[in-house]
Symmetry: C2
Subunit: 455 residues, 2 copies
């Protein structure tokens, strides 16, 4: 559509400027010190929705951070697409590893460097600008609803309640989410699944206070040593997870799909070089793509205890703590695995220590069909702008609300991720390629067009 | 000596006030931000030595923090006692666990709460006040030299050079150190040995940047998991240390001394209750006192990696780090064991990660004879003021300079520790009982008297 292309070309610098403004708001949902920033960001998203052409936009308060809802209804009889995304971001730490401020976006080598540039403000903004293009060129053929939440990075604890009490408001024919990646601009792909998540924190307490390691060392259990032993026991020599019952509900994907997966381009040398590792690690019997796509995993996301400062301190600490999460695949249940993990770490604790374990958040694994109208519309839209058929792949990340949406609203989700795995999501120097940003804005209007045509 | 008692009684409030002033100086040697405080503290010690009656007091600069030296020579033909101590303190972290400011001393329940109250400012100050008593009552019968350094808590890296280049200045007939503890005021004891120390830091690097645990988890080694496995492998199921060669040079103490040790009062129930643990931990085949006195140990003093903040962050971190130290017994060599540890952690690192290991500081184990004049003078002094013969015991801590003094100056050390194991050395809420402080000031003059008489 020439008219879309021309509109984008004329306005692309403004589109980018607007995104940069959004990226300057430190909307870190995990940290209570950013509560005010969350409100400012929600307000900004609402404002941008209005400017793009929605009929109404509203900030819905929740028990946590608010949800921004907006809609453009052109005809109740036309198909409706619900766009889901999130305006909250991961904490930026460790700050010293950023080359520029996480909330001070910088354009370098054709990339936007900032926390949230790809996950998910940049991708949400593609949808807002796609709406603007459709509205301003009078080419919108479907109804579009936006549900942009502020708690995705902390497990969407309040979205369930919002969705179940606003079913009519959110009613749609499909849900469109851009919060994931594609293999590359040369090898476009569509995620057909996301892994589930269980996330817990385990605190091991030995003595009731920090002790002098010379006076007490050797006679009192060191909680760091005990926690290390507990963590070490969770993977065997083949890197299988040893927690009893962990794999019980794992459904292996059909051989045919596994074969198809193995055709996705993967260059181990390039992959290792990019990560700076000499050898890859993982569960024996599976390829790298399988390890991150179709197999469950257990990762330690953080650990601390004792003295972390400069120099030496001869302390035997009272406590050691770890943040531990598992990625889940069909048909594992996040609720069940979280319970299993909590109980496991309590059970394996030796009598020298006490263990306090609690849950952070979880989400169920989700698989989307590839024969739906929404998937077909997405595939066709990508083929139109990339001149290549997208490959269906399973993503390693988690979008906890997927199974929730399906359960509450009874509609299927389609993922159109325009990020790259190398975008440093959740890491220092998160980036989003300008080319991907603009390609997303170019592609999304086609999705709406094709989805209407197929409906 | 009635005259000593009267002088102390008349001046005890001032003695305490002066100590509190010293405790207000945050002389943390490990942290470069306290460099200025170290100079202020050295100057204060020098000033107090002058006020107490030394002939000269001098601050000797070193490549690190300065040494304070002072002396009172009454007659070159009389015996000379060199008092060693340190004005530097351990870092105060974790600050949130202190009930009052670490450098804002508080007297509560007959105890002085402050960093350094016992280790070692409080104990150094007993010696300065003992000198004052002896000088002001004209009862000094020996020469006294003071060597109060500022780097004990970081392994005395510059004291060796100072001692070897000031042998004449430091010449003495014995070295007296109060930087340890006694069993209790009811069961006075004298340390006859201190353990050695090796202290290293091990940094494990996996990928070259923090990664999204969903996108890469399961396919790339997590440095926390690997470090945990490395740490877990260092103790077997009997809590023996598994590092090859670690025990090679350990000399078992004679059965007779072991039998004597077993007679020291020890109540396991009280010990466990004090520490708040249900069960003790330690090397199979040894009692608690043996585990902390005559056996070498390996402790993790600190660990960190990944996200430590509020809430959840799904990161697979680039690095994980641990501070690891070993306590050594005769005839282990700190230099040899440090090398062994550094090599071991590099050797056991799997090919998925790289390991950087470096040394913090060490010190050799030290044993002092119980038939020396100095030991006899100390035992007699304690018997005089405590009305009980002190028990000889082996301390678990380390005073790295002991073997250095012996080597450079050719003289023996005697330990008169007036602290208690429960004084929270190196921990939050470090304390020193007022009773112990005053009892130390009362006892030390007798040491000088008896040492002269025995010489």
């Amino acid at each position: 559509m020439q008219v879309w292309k021309e509109y984008q070309e004329k306005n692309k610098d403004r589109f980018l400027d607007e995104l940069l403004q959004l990226l300057r708001i430190p909307s870190v949902s995990a940290k209570s010190e950013h509560k005010e920033d969350m409100l400012i960001c929600a307000e900004a998203v609402k404002q941008r929705l209005y400017e793009a052409g929605v009929d109404t936009a509203t900030i819905y308060t929740t028990d946590g951070h608010p949800v921004v809802y907006g809609e453009k209804i052109i005809d109740p009889n036309k198909p409706t697409v619900l766009v889901y995304g999130h305006y909250d971001v991961q904490p930026a730490e460790p700050l010293e590893l950023w080359n520029s401020g996480p909330f001070d976006p910088v354009i370098k080598d054709g990339k936007i460097f900032a926390r949230g540039s790809c996950d998910d403000k940049g991708q949400v903004y593609m949808h807002i600008k796609a709406l603007e293009i459709l509205v301003k060129t009078n080419t919108l053929t479907s109804n579009i609803k936006f549900c942009i939440e502020g708690e995705e990075e902390i497990g969407s604890p309040n979205l369930g309640k919002f969705v179940s009490s606003h079913k009519e408001l959110l009613k749609a024919d499909c849900i469109l989410i851009s919060d994931s990646s594609m293999l590359s601009l040369d090898t476009p792909s569509i995620d057909i699944g996301v892994r589930g998540l269980s996330y817990i924190e385990v605190e091991v307490t030995g003595p009731n206070r920090d002790l002098h390691s010379g006076v007490y060392g050797g006679a009192v259990a060191n909680p760091i040593t005990i926690l290390a032993k507990m963590i070490a026991s969770c993977h065997d020599e083949n890197n299988h997870i040893t927690i009893p019952g962990f794999y019980d509900d794992v459904t292996m994907i059909p051989d045919e799909e596994r074969k198809l997966m193995s055709k996705a381009p993967f260059n181990e040398t390039v992959y290792k070089e990019d990560l700076g590792v000499k050898e890859l690690w993982g569960e024996k019997g599976y390829t790298t793509n399988e390890r991150t796509g179709i197999r469950p995993t257990l990762e330690i996301n953080g650990i601390w205890g004792g003295y972390e400062g400069e120099g030496a301190k001869t302390v035997l600490p009272s406590k050691a703590t770890a943040k531990i999460s598992a990625r889940l695949v069909p048909d594992q249940s996040s609720i069940k695995i979280t319970q299993l993990l909590l109980e496991h770490f309590k059970k394996i604790a030796p009598p020298y220590v006490s263990v306090n374990a609690f849950e952070h958040h979880g989400g169920e694994p989700y698989i989307t069909p590839i024969d739906s109208k929404a998937y077909k519309a997405a595939a066709k839209a990508i083929e139109t702008t990339f001149a290549k058929k997208p490959i269906p792949v399973r993503g390693g990340g988690s979008i906890p609300i997927c199974s929730l949406f399906e359960k509450e609203l009874g509609i299927k989700i389609v993922f159109m991720g325009f990020g790259l795995d190398s975008d440093n999501l959740h890491s220092p120097n998160e980036k989003f390629n300008l080319e991907n940003f603009y390609k997303g804005i170019e592609t999304i209007p086609y999705f709406h067009k094709y989805f209407t045509e197929l409906s």
